[in-house]
């Protein structure tokens, strides 16, 4: 694929959709977490691609895309930490991390 904006966009949307697919179909809680990571990376890639290919005149604000990705990574880290803590607690009580069994909060 050529070194151009559409190709990068295609890659990021591919990442995004596969991540979503994983989240929707994985039975394993941590699998779902992985799916989320993929989605976040897809988004981050998009930001960086846009910051690279659009209006390279003022470099300062151009980099805002990258700063944004930086924040995404930071937030992803926080998110994974808390998510894993919850999963571990669930695991220690219910001895399973199968998403099917977590349905006490039913209507």
């Amino acid at each position: 694929m050529s070194y151009s904006l559409p190709s990068f966009l295609i890659v990021s949307s591919l990442l995004f959709c596969l991540g979503m697919f994983t989240v929707l179909t994985r039975r394993n809680a941590i699998g779902v977490l992985m799916g989320i990571e993929l989605i976040l990376n897809g988004a981050g890639l998009n930001f960086v691609a846009f910051s690279r290919f659009l209006e390279p005149t003022q470099t300062a604000n151009l980099l805002s895309g990258q700063v944004f990705t930086l924040f995404i990574i930071a937030i992803a880290a926080a998110e994974v930490a808390v998510a894993l803590a919850i999963v571990l607690v669930l695991y220690s009580q219910m001895k399973t991390i199968d998403v099917e069994d977590f349905k006490d909060l039913r209507g």
């Binding site: 979503m20 989240v23 929707l24 779902v32 998403v99 977590f102 349905k103 909060l105 039913r106 209507g107």
Partner: protein, 690 residues
């Protein structure tokens, strides 16, 4: 000895002393010892007697007869003012010859009877109450006699009625004694109704006549304004004056036990004997006579009313005498004799012999009180009223016997005793009277004479059965027959003397001696009263005297012959004339007739209205409440089923939807993500398409 001015100021003492006695005895009767009660009771009446005597003397010492009048006005009693006039009355006492005479009788005889009661009521435990009531009675009677206006007199009038109720029902634990008291009060009340209506009619007719001139019911005002009555338009064809006079006479019959309102007096004998003596012989019953004499100026201009009074008087005299013939209860005999004697008084007043009426009133007070007190001491000893259980008491009770005999002779009309003087005077005045119906005078005279004969007969019967012959009441009773104590016999003696000598104050013309009483009363009676003095047919008068004495003697002779000579004779006569006897004995069944005629319809009306009130009006109210209740129930039902139904239905629907939607919440996270994505996707499609 006392000048008029001071007497005028102490006039109010006469009624108020007995009132004070009544209040003291009444309130402190629990704490006062019996002796003190007696002293307070008797002293108050005696002091009143003294004041009356001083008043009497002051009056006599005033030369000019026309200003023998002491009026003391205490305070303004009633006052209502309006544009056309005013209605104002004072509490004021009036001592003029008439009221002075009455005061003397009331306080004098009253004191003797109080003294007698000390002995008679010795054993009774509630003496305080007895003397309080007796003093209260004296107060009311004096108030009646001394009142200066008709309404104040009415206060005394009903006050006496109240006291007679209290005293008749004195031993209230015995039911029919209490009933007798009630009967007396209510019959009096009927009479008072007549009195009050008469009073109202009098005031307003004079008020209209004098267009506001007259302001109250004082006797002076009335005397001046009375001529106006003539000009007033007659009501229902009868002159207003006659209406007023008749209405007052209704009141008098109620109080003085004349036909038709006499039924309460025989039952009033249920009270203690001194009470009967004092109230139902000497004072209260004479109130009617006093009232008519006091209103003589009114009766003078109502000849028709006078005739009615005379006729009723004569008929009652004769009628009561007949009943007295057959009674066995000693007090009932005396009661009927009182009614008949009162009949004579009304006859006298009816024929305009006012002073003679008062004369008979005074003498009657003496001997009738004596008879009653004598009977009282007999009952006191024998402990029963029935004459058939008495007899031969002459031996055991000499004093009572002697005093009783004097009174017996007086009442039978044996000259020169007081009874003869006054009764003969009445017969003489009736004989000469010319009432509205010519010749009626002679008929009434004959009736009166016959009555006198019967009086002599039943009195002899009474004396024979009680004192003569031998004691019927069984040996053990005979053992402790005893003469009454001195405190009882002394009043008897005094009264005996008075009955004997009493005639002196009103000597007939034939004796050419001054008729003291007539001259004394003349200022009050004024020119209206004819006293038979004018007619100088001495021969006729002497003849009539002889006839009446003869009739009296035959009565006594017959009585003697029937009950002493041939005691079995009355039994035979009774058998032959059984029907007649039963009629007389049962007092012509008058009580039963009254019961049927008046009492039962009123009671039926009462229960009817009571029930009507309960079912009728209350029924209507409850019915309306039930209807509204029904209606509200209907509204309630409608509200419940329809409106509620709708509301509940709606709630139901939402409930079902809710349940259906609930299933969406599976609890699995992926589902939620799934729906999120779907949502986003739907949104994008929507954005793209539109």
């Amino acid at each position: 000895m006392v000048e008029p001015q001071t007497v005028k100021n102490i006039l109010w003492l006469i009624p108020c002393l007995p009132l004070a006695g009544a209040v003291i005895n009444g309130l402190l009767r629990r704490r006062l010892p019996a002796r003190l009660i007696h002293i307070v009771g008797c002293a108050s009446v005696f002091l009143a007697f003294l004041v009356s005597v001083s008043g009497f003397i002051t009056l006599v010492r005033i030369e000019e007869p026309h200003n023998r009048l002491l009026i003391q006005s205490l305070y303004q009693w009633l006052l209502t003012v309006w544009d056309q006039g005013r209605f104002s009355l004072d509490v004021a006492f009036r001592l003029d010859p008439l009221s002075a005479a009455l005061c003397l009788v009331v306080t004098g005889v009253g004191f003797l009877i109080h003294l007698y009661s000390v002995g008679y009521m010795a054993g009774d435990e509630s003496q305080g109450r007895y003397f309080a009531y007796l003093n209260l009675f004296t107060f009311s009677m004096l108030l009646l006699v001394l009142a200066d206006n008709l309404l104040l007199m009415f206060v005394g009038w009903e006050g006496v009625g109240l006291c007679s109720y209290l005293l008749i029902g004195f031993w209230f634990s015995d039911l029919e004694k209490a009933q007798a008291g009630m009967k007396a009060f209510i019959v009096n009340r009927v009479g008072d109704f007549g009195f009050f209506v008469g009073l109202m009619l009098l005031f307003w007719t004079l008020f209209e006549g004098s267009s506001g001139g007259i302001t109250g019911l004082g006797f002076d005002q009335l005397t001046e304004a009375i001529p106006l009555l003539g000009s007033a338009s007659p009501i229902l064809g009868v002159g207003v004056a006659t209406w007023i006079a008749l209405l007052f006479f209704v009141g008098a019959t109620g109080k003085s036990a004349q036909i038709p309102l006499y039924i309460w007096l025989p039952d009033a004998m249920a009270g203690p004997t001194p009470v009967s003596a004092f109230i139902h012989a000497a004072t209260m019953v004479t109130a009617g006579v006093y009232m008519i004499v006091r209103l003589n100026f009114l009766y003078a201009i109502a000849p028709v009313a006078m005739t009615v009074v005379a006729v009723v008087g004569a008929v009652t005299a004769f009628y009561a005498a007949t009943i007295a013939l057959t009674q066995n209860d000693i007090k009932r005999v005396l009661a009927y004799s009182t009614i008949s004697q009162l009949g004579y008084m009304f006859l006298a007043v009816g024929v305009a012999a006012f002073s003679t009426g008062i004369f008979h009133l005074v003498t009657h007070a003496f001997f009738k009180a004596l008879l009653f007190l004598g009977a009282g001491s007999v009952i006191h000893a024998v402990h029963s009223n029935d004459m058939q259980e008495m007899g031969g008491l002459k031996k055991y009770m000499p004093y009572t016997y002697l005093t009783f005999m004097t009174a017996y002779l007086a009442i039978s009309g044996i000259p020169p005793l007081s009874g003869f003087m006054s009764k003969d005077e009445i017969l003489w005045a009736t004989f000469n009277s010319h009432l509205s119906i010519p010749g009626l005078g002679k008929v009434l005279w004959a009736l009166g004479l016959l009555g006198a004969g019967f009086t002599a007969f039943y009195m002899t019967r009474l004396v024979a059965l009680t004192f003569m012959g031998n004691f019927q009441g069984g040996p053990e009773k005979e053992k402790h027959l005893h003469e009454s104590p001195l405190v009882m016999t002394i009043p008897l003696m005094i009264l005996a003397v008075l009955s004997a000598v009493g005639g002196a104050i009103g000597l007939p013309a034939v004796t050419h001696l001054p008729n003291l009483l007539h001259d004394f009363l003349s200022p009050v009676i004024g020119g209206h009263g004819s006293s038979g003095h004018e007619i100088h047919a001495y021969g006729l008068e002497v003849l009539l005297m002889v006839i009446s004495t003869g009739v009296a003697l035959t009565g006594i002779g017959l009585g003697y012959y029937f009950y002493l000579k041939r005691p079995e004779l009355p039994g035979q006569i009774k058998a032959r004339f059984a029907g007649m006897h039963r009629l007389l004995f049962n007092k012509y069944y008058v009580d039963e007739i009254y019961q049927a005629l008046f009492l039962r319809p009123v009671l039926k009306l009462v229960s009817l209205s009571g029930r009507f009130d309960l079912q009728g009006i209350d029924g209507a109210v409850n019915l309306s409440s039930r209807i509204t209740a029904k209606f509200s129930f209907l509204v309630g039902w409608e509200d419940l089923t329809i409106v509620d139904g709708a509301v509940n239905g709606l709630a139901d629907i939402f409930k079902r939807w809710g349940a259906w939607i609930r299933q969406v919440q599976t609890g699995r996270i992926q589902h939620y993500l799934y729906s999120v994505v779907l949502g986003i996707f739907g949104l994008c499609v929507f954005m793209l398409l539109f």
